[in-house]
Amino acid sequence: MIELRGVSKSFGPKRAVDHLDLTVRPGELYAFLGPNGAGKTTTIKMICGLLRPTEGAVLVGGRPAESREARRLLGYIPDQPFLYDKLTGREFLKFVIEMYGVPRSAGLSRIEELVDTFEMADFIDELCENYSQGMKQRVVFASALVHEPRVLVVDEPLVGLDPRSARIVKNMFVSMAREGAAVLMSIHLLAIAEELADTIGIIDHGRMLAVGSMADLRKQAQADGSLEELFLKLTGGDGRRVVSPVARARLESPS
């Protein structure tokens, strides 16, 4: 469903993504990990057709990511979601179903289903400008799912969500993947990635360092342990390096 072949993206002299290969198959939940500035958001923007690769090909459902057909298959939740302040949540969801050409009656019943699922009945008819961060996030999730995408791309999905909403979202991802959708999730919460993902890809400096299941990652890193330990080892930040020299001196000094 999502396929990146030898993809590079440069911004002037800086190479943000460097010959990246990545595949997310139908029914797969893929956790895309990496330190800040590793190239995750750039990769995701190329999958959504917002950025053009400098080299290589990005395909969604077998079609170029920029094509209309690819975008029709896609649901995207960015790290900084967008809502129209002067629209109510329901008006925004109706706008989305019309944009995606979802038949009206099917779209409206899908909206009701999502309003119920994300517990939005209390505020869905208020203007978005009055929403809290968590409310906005729930409406954005609903808007990405209302047209029943076959490919879901999510950048930092759990920011701003309370534990209950986070659980719903996690269930939603698993459910979508089990029903045949390809789900790509960029996330910094390694425990969630370890809990949910079928496949984990770790990227740094635009290059894929390791990819596979937890067992595959352990083999590639030649280490046992949690995903956090594997991540730190693969990205070159072992336990000692992630503690600043000043903090280490404090910890080690007998007081």
């Binding site: 993206k9 911004f11 002037g12 800086k14 943000a16 750039t42 923007k45 959504c48 057709g49 917002l50 950025l51 053009r52 920029e66 209309r68 057909e69 975008r71 029709r72 298959l73 896609l74 995207y76 960015p78 900084q80 967008f82 129209y84 302040d85 002067k86 629209l87 109510t88 008006e91 706008f95 989305v96 019309e98 944009m99 995606y100 050409g101 979802v102 038949p103 289903e113 119920d116 699922t117 994300f118 517990e119 203007l127 400008e129 029943e148 076959r150 209950r164 659980r167 719903i168 269930n171 939603m172 698993v174 459910s175 979508m176 089990r178 029903e179 045949g180 959708a181």
Partner: protein, 583 residues
Amino acid sequence: MSLVLPKPVEASSPPPADNSASALRRLRWLKARNAVATLAAESRLRVAMILFCSAVFWFGLFFFFLGSFQFIAFYVDLANTIIEYLFSLFFLSLLAMLLFSTGIIVYSSLFHSREAAYLLTTPASADRIFAHKFFEAMVFSSWGFFLLGSPLMVAYGLTVQAPAGYYALFLVFLLSFVIIPGGLGAIAAVVVANVFPRRRKTVLALSLLAALAVIGYFVVRVWRTPGEALSGDWLGGILNRLAFCQHPLWPSKWMSAGLLAAARGDWPNAGYYLMILSSHAGLAYLAAAVVARDLYRRGYSRTQGGRSSRKRAGLAFFDATFHRLFFFLSRPIRLLILKDLRIFLRDPAQWSQFLIFFGLLGFYFLNIPRLGYGAQSPYWRNLVSFLNLSVTALILSTFTSRFIFPLLSLEGRNFWVLGLLPLKREQILWGKFAFSAGISLISTEFLVVLSDLMLKMSPWMILLHVGMIAVLCLGLSGISVGLGARLPNLRESDPSKIAAGFGGTFNLLVSLVFIFTIVTALAVPCHLYFAGQDYPESSRYFLSREGLRFWLSAAVVVSLIIGAAATIIPLRVGIKAFQRMEF
């Protein structure tokens, strides 16, 4: 709500219909409807103020244009070429301004708005998204054109007793006209994003400089028209030098010729020019849509990402000098001023506009001896000196409205940083006030002294003007900082939109009233005195030296009181509002 898994996703159906055009249309309608409903429900006073100010502005312009047309009609037949020249020149200037303003607005709304990023991930085609954003940009960039153009057209129609059809037709003319620079500006915006994705500010600065050079060239040409001012030869020379605006390929020419024909009731000619204008408007939009269809996504991709890796110097020497120079201010205020100063210097949109306007004024003042004003009578020199001072103050008011008023609003989501700083909240506003007043005083005092020296004004008059512009600087800074805190717009991140909103417009109006009051109070006694010097035979109507002394002293006292009130009252109002503000 349930925590169970939701229903499975069904298999995809055949490609659905493309409803994006109607969806985007409905979106615009819903946004407008909800915005009006919110305003009507929550801000009736604000709506009333906006309508009232717009009406005052419209009628003010209308009576100004009506008076001007009646004055011109007293000397010449309004149907003759002078009016066509004036209209052509007016619309040509607006054409250039609309080209720049729409280009800039289209650029930022296509390539730097979060809505565009969202829409580009939907199935909507690039030209549909372009059409949606173009429509919004046109409304945003051309409402002022309608506000300025409609009283002009109505005043002209009434002066020449135009038939009723003219009043309906001029709106169609205006609408067709704005689409031409809008379309061309949009093409320029998309091309710049594709060709110079990292050099947009350079392109804009160079274009503005080129436009200024062209304007300067024609201004100098017109200025140097030989012959005695207002004589027949001189007027002929002027028209000859303005002949460029009558070129048959300018849309402004089609506009003026069509409107004059409609005002005469010459419908075949009016229809002919309207068809030329509207067909070119359609062509401009179509060309822009085709360019956007093929280049918008590519341009968007090229303008994104790529953080600037340019390292900024610490400016330790600059900071230390600043702290030493302004030792009498408290350290937190000095730090706040330094922060604002750094942001000002790193934003070319701010310092370049400041530099261009004040640079042009400086250039004009330096040329005063060449214009021969210095050799004129005291009456004339006094008049010009006050006019120069007024222009300097008016430009300063646009600076304070455009850049100082939005300062607090721009803190936006970082407001909590200011709110939690270990200093009194009022100190933050005093810091902004000191920043604004400092920049204003340095630039305007220099200009006013330069103007007076070039005009060979007496030391007393120079002193009066220096004091007067200081009062204006402090008052305008107080108004902008105070009202900026009282009427902040924390949702908007674009300073031009904050300045163009209700608070910014209100700030500009208050500033204009303040300038008018101060300048009138001081200029009238001087004018009456110097006029008496030139016309001693009617000196009983004018002020004697003693009269000047008395009235000028009274005017100075009144100006100081008004200046103090304009500085302190808005600041107090702003400080109160700022202290009540929750983060």
